[in-house]
Symmetry: C2
């Protein structure tokens, strides 16, 4: 259950409301895991029942309240267990690659457009990962500051280094995928030329 692990990991930085957690899921963990607020609120309730987090009602304006969730010792133990646990191999969900493997079912034109879209997406991702890695390296995110404020200085290097390595890894992967998409564009070009050359002028409209 990775949503639970993501939420617990975020809460190791500092206590947060469900709303704040959804914001971080849209802004910081956004690159790693997505979850809508509906799922986050209900998961938090479940985790509270399980004793992994503890909620405190806080006033919000004059009438309403909000609930701030803090991680418990049991929650911290669960995070330690989870990071060290051997991960089971994720089941393949390679939407882009499935599509790429069946591009003969469309025109060269549209096949090329698919690879162009992939190239652009991976390049955008690459830049975002790179940027986030630099921000983390400079210890400039609010969350990173909260983390380091609570941790013994000797551990600071590791806390930063693991996160930077993660985002650099994702940036490298995105760069590889961008290159793959570019080769895809070149492949479509070659196939199109070969089809034109080896073909008597076809009776297409």
């Amino acid at each position: 259950m990775s949503l639970q692990a993501c939420l617990l990991s975020l809460l190791t930085a500092r206590p947060m409301t469900g709303y704040e957690l959804t914001k971080y899921f849209d802004a910081s963990v956004e690159y790693l895991w997505h979850a809508p607020h509906s799922q986050i609120y209900s998961e938090l309730r479940r985790m509270e029942e399980a004793g992994l987090v503890k909620a405190t009602a806080l006033p919000r304006g004059e009438r309403a309240t909000k609930r701030a969730y803090a991680i418990t010792d049991a929650g911290r133990a669960e995070v330690s267990r989870w990071v060290a646990e051997p991960s089971d191999t994720p089941r393949p969900r390679e939407v882009d690659y499935v599509k790429a493997s069946y591009l003969e079912f469309t025109s060269f034109e549209l096949a090329r457009e698919q690879f162009i879209a992939l190239r652009d997406r991976h390049d955008r991702d690459r830049r975002e990962y790179e940027h986030h890695a630099r921000v983390l390296e400079a210890r400039k995110t609010e969350l990173m500051k909260a983390r380091l404020a609570d941790a013994p200085p000797l551990e600071h290097a590791a806390i930063v280094a693991y996160k930077v390595h993660t985002y650099r890894g994702l940036a490298g992967r995105a760069a590889q995928q961008k290159a793959w998409a570019e080769e895809g564009i070149a492949l479509v070009d070659r196939l199109e030329q070969a089809a034109r050359a080896g073909d008597t002028p076809p009776s297409e409209q």
Copy 2:
């Protein structure tokens, strides 16, 4: 709905029973998309209702029957629509990278083990993708032969090339991830040495 698209794409090669489709999901599409037989059988029924496939009852032994599914014209149109359709950006589900970013919650020892497991997994994946690319390039899979037998020779190059490009891309990605895991091992080593050096001998057990 990618499961539907995967099933339809497989059925463009030749008609198949639900059982055969699950076998291909375990052996050929295994690298791209996973689905258990329970999901495949029910999805096929739904697709039949939608007119994308047509089932024919075939005898199986003397008493029982099996159902062979063939793609319909509507199904073929759906495949063409699907491959050309702009894909919406997949929601991030980066289990491995989430874990990697929080390795400070475990020991150097166990952190290293996580990266070692990742290195081994990605290397195994890389070899499997590479192998499958070569088999496809040689047009040696049963499915590829069925595909080519039905298609005009002018299209053979594209049919093969798209699939080879897909698997080579996945192999390249796996190689990149393997390298990232190896850098992870080196990172843990460095962090451990730094911790030992900068530390008065700690009171660990």
